[in-house]
Symmetry: C2
Subunit: 167 residues, 2 copies
DNA sequence: TTAAACTTTCAAAAAATATTGAAAGTTTAT
DNA sequence: ATAAACTTTCAATATTTTTTGAAAGTTTAA
């Protein structure tokens, strides 16, 4: 396979994968493109490579920056902004995990805590509801703690985890 | 909070959470409803509770069954089908993890293997592409193995994991 | 201050995704 | 074999999400 083919395949696949994870396709594609760019890249270049509009590029770059996985680079003597991706994969995974925890796990826990607090004396249905939502709360809490622990020492956490699991 | 309020809140929140994960809202809501139903439930009841059409119910129930997290129940003397959810959370998480691995991680690994195989002698860009995609391949492989290991012994894997991490 | 070189915003348009509902299909009872 | 009681399918429709592009906003240089 040629480089340009491989590059396209990588960007397209990353975009498709992103969609399945509730991340918009363009955002994932921009990230893919930045991941494989050795130098930081201007908005113009991104628009050109991915064939997207300026507005689209601007908004998705902003999202990536909000997620903390893309940074701005101000080059000496250049007026325009350049962008580069967090390339350390341990760091990338930690940032994504922290962000998703904040956006999804914490709110889910809040809801579970609330709804599991009903007093369930009356019917079988109510008792079962309470049992299940309490169990879910405990499970999600544990998962949350586990993720926290795993990524606590950011340096090489995945290798460390694997080692511990294999002993 | 009253039971019926709590029930609604739970179903709605679970649906919203599903959307963020690339799972369709109705599918997540049906799952939520089945999770809190002590008895298995007919399609009619699901349509009624969630205010959805027969077609929608049918298709999403099928998806849930394909994922292996909802089962059919044929009741004595009843012609219609009833449905119930996998309620053991360890088992549920394992099934979801296996399914997503199969659908997403394996294909991603395949692409990464392919594109990282280019020979990158010419430019800086090509070298960097190779470096990055190889690194990604390794990282994703490790993550895949870790998940495999963690869920290997399905019984109470999350608690076991937490214990190991805390020592 | 002005204007050039940029970036951001957001209403409108396009694209993607989910939902409906009725026709077609299936199963079971008689 | 017929019909009643169901479920599935899928073209049409509705909804949601993404994308565009031009106007408004910002920054820098002269």
């Amino acid at each position: 396979m040629e480089f340009s083919q491989a590059k396209n395949k990588f960007i397209q696949s990353w975009g498709a994968l992103g969609s399945q994870w509730g991340i918009n396709k363009t955002m994932a594609q921009i990230h893919a493109f930045l991941m494989i760019s050795p130098e930081s890249v201007s908005m113009e270049e991104i628009m050109d490579e991915l064939k997207i509009s300026r507005g689209n590029a601007s908004m998705n770059l902003r999202s990536l920056i909000d997620w903390g996985i893309v940074y701005k680079d101000f080059k000496q003597g250049e007026r325009k902004e350049f962008f580069y991706a967090e390339k350390d994969l341990d760091e990338l995974a930690i940032k994504i995990s922290r962000e998703r925890t904040k956006r999804e796990i914490k709110p889910a826990l809040k809801v579970l805590k609330e709804v599991s607090a009903i007093d369930a004396n009356a019917t079988e249905k109510e008792k079962h509801f309470k049992t299940q939502t309490c169990a879910l709360y405990n499970f999600v809490s544990k998962a949350d703690n586990a993720i926290e622990k795993i990524t606590e020492y950011n340096d090489n956490w995945l290798s460390k985890l694997l080692k511990r699991l294999l002993t």
